[in-house]
């Protein structure tokens, strides 16, 4: 109980600080005066947040069973990115999110977070995509997995488990995250590309204008990609989710055992 409570508090702190760092061009208009250093510092902050969440997960649940399980699942998910070539899809379509959502949904928030964050890390390592954008991707994908455990709570409350409503809520959730992921990833990059320094910021007017500019930038650059991602997510969930959940259920029943501590020599 104490374990879960402390985990909950840590996650709240990290969520606030992480969002605050990402949203800082809105919250602190001054951030845009140092636009070049801005994304790097945000990445460093988010990297620290990630380390804390990882540490919390590591000391609370990670043992050899979960390490093996997650390692294999992450390898599958990183491989899904390459399967895109096997089955042609439209631009922006990414098949990785559905497995992250389902893992977080079935196995809980902590495993979901690890699944999301480490999928990004491993596919970054494989494709040579290590860079300052990685912490943002990792924490956002982690949040995708973490928040999907809330859905499990909702579904068991209304007794929707193993009914069509379960798949429908999952599909809506995945469509929502498909859009939100693009918006958050753009936030990281935006102050870098669309600003000028030395603008006299009247802070009250700044926020509205900021939001207007961001909306224009978002509509111009990434809306189409995000829509295809959302549609792809919904398709994948509606076709694959039921079967994958059944596989997970069987697997959990088999895997749900504990090693007893032997007598110490």
């Amino acid at each position: 109980m104490k374990n879960r409570l402390s985990g909950f508090f840590i996650n709240i702190i990290i969520l606030t600080l992480g969002f605050l760092s990402l949203l800082s061009p809105f919250v602190f208009p001054q951030a845009r005066n140092s636009s070049a250093t801005f994304p790097i510092i945000v990445s460093l902050m988010i990297g620290l947040c990630l380390l804390i969440v990882f540490y919390e997960i590591q000391i609370s649940i990670l043992d050899s069973k979960i390490i093996a399980f997650l390692g294999v699942l992450i390898a599958i998910n990183a491989g899904l990115r390459f399967l895109e070539n096997a089955v042609p899809g439209p631009a922006g379509f990414s098949p990785t999110f559905f497995l992250i959502i389902l893992t977080g949904y079935y196995f809980g928030g902590r495993i979901g977070f690890l699944m999301g964050a480490m999928t990004m890390l491993v596919s970054g390592l494989i494709t040579g995509g290590i860079g300052p954008w990685l912490p943002g991707q990792m924490i956002t994908a982690g949040w995708v997995g973490q928040t999907s455990s809330l859905l499990r709570f909702l579904n068991s409350k209304f007794n929707w488990r193993e009914k069509p409503a379960e798949i429908i809520t999952l599909a809506i959730f995945s469509a929502f995250w498909g859009m939100l992921y693009g918006a958050i990833m753009n936030l990281w990059f935006w102050p870098f590309i669309g600003t000028a320094p030395n603008q006299s910021w009247s802070q009250s007017a700044g926020l509205m204008k900021n939001i207007q500019q961001y909306t224009a930038y978002y509509l111009a650059t990434s809306l189409i990609w995000d829509i295809t991602r959302s549609v792809g997510n919904v398709l994948m969930i509606s076709i694959l989710a039921r079967t994958v959940l059944t596989v997970f259920m069987r697997f959990q029943r088999r895997f749900n055992f504990r090693y007893e501590q032997g007598i110490k020599p």
Partner: protein
């Protein structure tokens, strides 16, 4: 230069330099250095396509950034043409200064991207995985397992796909993925059970609750707190010294936490990295350079290397020290002859 430590120092120095200068001359020098080193590092038959892809990316970034900046910001004196004022956001003067500013932004982004591409080229996946601190060894283990299983899972996916295609599955729609994906998932999960059993049999059952785990936790949290408040103070233009101090405390706390908690875990060393004398010299040189840079910037001893086209366009200034510092990007190129 083969050791990952030296490469990381080189990366840090270049990041510091790139983020503090906005002078197009230095940026172009850095970009040339990066492109040449990258060209050297790729395999012989892929060099042309590597150069083409990166130049294309650079050009796209510069054009996009110049366009967006020109449309959205209307500062500057040299007016090229203007849109009617009542147009939302883009209404107003389109100035030469904002085009130049956008171009410089694009060059910086391109250089940052290239810098990390070169780190990815220079360091192998194994070296990158080793950079995960020892305090996070379960995470590193998971990464290693994922990287090890990746090729075999791809192989199995190919086999299942072929088997399905023989049975008449065309693999065109998303619903055709189901008979591919489910066997893959089931067999891989079976393998993970085997793997976990063999890990436990070899003594890798992590004591999941480490002794006094609260201390490192507290260290990391307070490190986050210190650096975050340093950043916020910096944003509200408090003196740089205060935020530098806070950053330093945060960084030192992270380092101390890593050191302390890595002492609790014992690991075996396998194929250690060898530091050659050239690497040691290079490492010392780069760390001294970084330290001097930080000290000089805090005390404002360095002439300002930055450049801004606002309010009116002037030709960028030209300093010897800037030229020397931007030449650091060429170091891997010079050293690679000896490797």
């Amino acid at each position: 230069m083969k050791t990952s430590g030296v490469w990381i120092l080189w990366l840090i120095f270049n990041l510091l330099f790139l983020l503090s200068t906005r002078n197009p001359v230095y940026l172009l020098i850095v970009l040339t250095g990066l492109l040449l080193s990258g060209y050297r590092m790729t395999r012989k038959n892929q060099r042309a396509s590597w150069l083409k892809n990166n130049l294309r990316f650079l050009l796209t970034m510069v054009l996009l950034s110049a366009l967006i900046n020109a449309l959205f910001t209307h500062n500057g004196r040299t007016v090229l043409f203007s849109f009617p004022q009542h147009w939302l956001l883009i209404g107003g003067n389109i100035t030469l200064e904002s085009v130049v500013y956008g171009t410089i932004n694009g060059l910086t982004i391109g250089a940052l991207y290239l810098l990390f591409t070169i780190i990815n080229l220079a360091l192998s996946v194994k070296q990158l995985t080793r950079l995960i601190p020892r305090a996070f060894h379960p995470i590193a283990m998971t990464v290693t397992i994922a990287l090890t299983f990746f090729p075999s899972i791809q192989q199995r996916a190919r086999e299942i796909k072929e088997a399905q295609m023989i049975r008449g599955n065309r693999m065109k729609k998303i619903s055709d993925w189901l008979p591919l994906f489910i066997p893959l998932l089931v067999t891989s999960l079976e393998k993970s059970i085997l793997l976990s059993e063999s890990m436990t049999a070899r003594g890798f059952h992590i004591p999941s609750r480490l002794k006094n785990s609260g201390l490192p936790f507290l260290g990391l949290l307070s490190a986050l707190f210190f650096s975050f408040s340093g950043w916020i103070l910096h944003l509200f233009s408090y003196p740089l010294l205060i935020s530098a101090l806070l950053y330093f405390v945060g960084g030192a706390l992270v380092m101390a936490t890593f050191l302390l908690s890595s002492q609790q875990t014992r690991i075996t060393h396998f194929q250690k990295e060898v530091w050659h004398s050239a690497d040691i010299l290079m490492g010392i040189f780069l760390s001294v350079l970084i330290l001097l840079w930080i000290l000089f910037t805090i005390n404002k001893l360095l002439p300002s290397l930055t450049y801004s086209p606002y309010p009116a366009l002037l030709s960028p200034p030209f300093q010897i020290i800037g030229l020397l510092l931007s030449a650091v990007t060429f170091i891997p190129l010079l050293l690679s002859k000896h490797d």
